[in-house]
Symmetry: C2
Subunit: 546 residues, 2 copies
């Protein structure tokens, strides 16, 4: 993901959100960066055209630029629509003045002259200011075909023309020129001709055309329509970037998006040629994945590069957001589990001895599965700390089993009887499920299954203890309760420390490997299944089911 | 994630990007929605204060609103800083005019009067227009303490004051009031007092304070500082939203962010009270996870709700982006594998018979592991199509083994000799790794391991065939080549169909469960390890290693 950089766009505002500073800021955000803006003009526009333009006074454009640069550490700047000669001059003045005596960060200039819908966005007299005063400050300019034609006063109708136009534009002073060929018809066969005529020109192919893997190569016919951009660097080779042409009306703001993505890459410190590859790929995917909006030329999808997080971030005051989400998403069944009639009666001391004995006999068998599942977890782990952590739990279960023996003896159940007791269906269902999850999935999925038990018993222990101490109306008591020791075990510091460690483990897993929506669903399903199996286990004990 | 909605913000522009339409648009994007904007005024500001304001002419504000509403299907609207009475009137006029005879989508009004830094952002004479003309159109207004004081001309200094202020503001006509208490000092103990005095008021606790899970409850002292918002609905109960107070300077644009997030939730169709819970949580996390920017009050982190995608989306012209990424990230070793000297000599027909025999003997053992690993994949699968797909591969391997026998006989190797041959280290290393990955991870991880082999052999088959046909200088030949059948098998349609199915499988996995950075690293590591093991396998065969 990399560090967040701060980037400034100096451009027009597009009310419809598809172009201008709105497209720039969305691109910066989608690529992980922080955007600031100085608005050169407001436009009232939508996907069908530009309905009005209202220029910003030059002094106020300058003021916006100073406000940003004086306070924030800007690592790249892009200019878009500059509106007129005055605002172009104001931009140059502000940049030169602020960066007197210090290095200006990379400046990308998209010399916007005409909108996709054909509206003129730059006063003719501004052209000279642009080329004479602004271009020499830039790391890169990104004209399209018609802008290059305007700047050079000649027509461009072939890839050859593009190559010479890009070279001639370099003479205006930018350190590089990316001449965009989106408005030029080209086919795959043209790339071969180009390579033959200009062996010195590097060809960068985006997507499938000409990837050097045979199994990935798409057999596209030579007549396939493509888009070619030409990149000329003052002190580097010339390259052409080739990618599939897309038949789409979602192209409003393509140029803004490309130059904004270029600014992001340059802010990250990449070379101009790497930046061009990343930015053209990002823009291409924005068109390709766009949802059609509006009646005319709609916006790109800028957000193809990000996905919504299913789990909120951990914070000091909310360290367990993932566990909360798991429990909330199965709240009803979770409450039925932790506040089960078996638990309540156990807390009141009114649970029948038969039910409790049935429970501890079946728990003995369950713990065998539980220990085996942790052994499987250890076997599936590939770091010593993970192997250690799983093994400590196995040791805890083994200790629990030895005290279990003494505990059972109190209730008149011998060790032999424990071992001989037939496993109830609920026990087999739960134990089998743990082993199955362990076989099917990775360690995180297995942990989801194992922790529903750990955390649930921790919750039961705590709420019984709290109710006994604070809520006499609950009838939960410790004094004289035949099951007091059970409650004290699960509410005790040793068990609760294990609960906290368990919470820490799953939260750390979810934070280190933020789950996709599909994976989150899978984790939730495991959690809910175990919650149901826990409830069924207590049903079984209470109702003395076989 | 839900459907993308289109939302309109009518507000000021903040050059520093932390507030205004910039914060709104970033919030819309972070919550999965498409933002449009009508700018009421430009500000030149940064984290230290507002250096200048330049109002938009009312006619042009109206024009922006019409441009958006006439073309796009807007599902929620928010207003922020409206600048002055004229622009407030223009806003009301444009909305009323556009929505004459049709239902206005939910309108959230953040009655911005003063900036966080203390700058007045609304002309005093605009207050009356706001309350009389705009409030009656709104689903919700979101004043903070000082705005509510200004609107009601009385001071607010307690939670009690907030409750009555929220109720009184309802009388101005909004359907709900969310009165923000961020500027009021409150502590956890106040919530208990409030509940005692007003049992009818619902308390919604965000984060840990009072969650009804014992194990998740943080033992915060009663003196802990909190933030309380009051939500009053015209036709609903009153609720207070409680969350931890954060000691942070990253609060520039908090109000804009909250109202933008509210508009998102309402656009999605949630109730006002659900919207309030979601939006306050989103804003809280924005402050909590912010990176400090600028010398004064910096922006929130709006993007805590999204993560960068590691794998680009699949498109018609680039159907295998994930496989490309895997191969590119291990390009050097991948080339050493698929263009190994063993492969080249095999293609030239110059490979020694001993090496080839050593290879097919060891391949026999390897295929046993390979079949077992696919059996493990079937055992780990939980849908019939996945079990079917794994089983078909096992059947393919079993068929391959029977033709293997005939093939080996050609080279004078008997079935018995095949079975008796001792396994070389390279074979054990590779086979053991497949089984280990199968034990450790989930089915996707195991597939990553299995496909490096499938795809690599597919690539070898294709490039040898292509070189034989098209590149005589490569010396690769089929005619008279003793290994011709091997090349034809792997470049043949049957094997290549399996390659395409394999590509489809991993691409579908990566698209359905977009990997986190950590998981992507894990998948890449498995892929690269297998690529190394493949190369080592050919080293072993070529050099007749034991």
């Amino acid at each position: 993901m990399g560090l967040q950089r701060t980037i400034l766009t100096i451009a027009g505002s597009d009310s419809s959100g598809g172009a201008g500073i709105q497209a720039d800021l969305r691109t910066f955000a989608a690529l992980g960066h922080y955007g600031t803006s100085a608005i050169t003009a407001l436009t009232a526009q939508n996907t069908t055209g530009v309905q009005g333009v209202h220029g910003t006074p030059p002094y106020f454009l300058e003021q916006q630029i100073y406000s940003v640069l004086d306070d924030l550490d800007v690592q790249a700047i892009k200019t878009g629509m500059l509106f007129d000669a005055e605002n172009t001059r104001a931009t140059v003045r502000a940049l030169k003045s602020h960066y007197t005596g210090r290095t200006m960060p990379p400046l990308v200039c998209d010399p916007v002259c005409v909108s996709t819908s054909g509206h003129s966005l730059l006063a003719p007299e501004a052209l000279e200011v642009l080329t004479k005063d602004l271009f020499p400050l830039t790391a890169l300019i990104t004209p399209n075909k018609s802008e290059a034609e305007l700047l050079l006063s000649r027509s461009i109708s072939s890839i050859e023309d593009m190559l010479s136009a890009a070279r001639d534009l370099l003479l205006c002073g930018p350190r590089a020129v990316l001449l965009k060929g989106g408005h030029l018809t080209a086919i795959l066969a043209d790339v071969d001709s180009l390579t033959r005529a200009h062996p010195e020109v590097a060809v960068v192919r985006d997507g499938l055309y000409g990837d050097d893997m045979e199994i990935l190569a798409l057999n596209a016919p030579q007549s396939t329509k493509i888009v070619i951009d030409v990149l000329c660097e003052a002190d580097g080779p010339t390259a052409v970037l080739v990618r599939p042409w897309i038949d789409s009306t979602s192209t409003h703001g393509t140029g803004c998006t490309l130059s904004a993505a270029l600014a992001c890459a340059l802010a990250e410190g990449t070379t101009v040629s790497e930046a061009a590859v990343h930015a053209t790929a990002y823009t291409h995917l924005g068109i390709q994945t766009a949802i059609k909006l509006g009646a005319g030329h709609g916006p790109l999808n800028h957000l193809h590069s990000v996905a919504r997080m299913g789990v909120p971030p951990r914070t000091p005051t909310n360290p367990y957001p993932f566990t909360q989400l798991l429990i909330k998403s199965s709240r009803v069944i979770w409450k039925e589990y932790v506040e089960h009639a078996f638990v309540r009666r156990l807390g009141e001391g009114t649970l029948s001895k038969e039910s409790f004995i049935h429970f501890i006999k079946q728990d003995y068998h369950y713990l065998k599965y539980y220990a085996r599942a942790y052994s499987l977890l250890a076997a599936k782990s590939n770091t010593f700390p993970h192997i250690d952590s799983a093994t400590q739990t196995i040791l805890n279960v083994l200790r629990e089993i030895s005290t279990h023996g003494a505990f059972c003896a109190e209730f008149g159940v011998s060790a032999d009887e424990l071992e001989q007791t037939r496993e109830a269906s609920a026990t087999s269902a739960y134990g089998g499920y743990l082993m199955d999850v362990g076989l099917q999935g990775d360690t995180t999925k297995l942990l989801m299954a194992l922790l529903a038990c750990l955390l649930g018993y921790g919750e039961v222990g705590l709420w019984l203890k709290r109710a006994a101490a604070e809520r006499p109306e609950s009838k939960i008591v410790l004094e004289g309760n035949p099951y007091r020791r059970w409650i004290e075990d699960y509410s005790g510091e040793e068990y609760q420390a294990a609960v906290r460690a368990g919470l820490e483990t799953i939260e750390a897993r979810a934070a280190a490997d933020p789950p996709s929506a599909a994976r989150l669903d899978e984790w939730r399903a495991v959690w809910e299944r175990c919650t149901r199996l826990e409830k069924a286990f207590w049903d079984m004990a209470l109702e003395l089911q076989e």
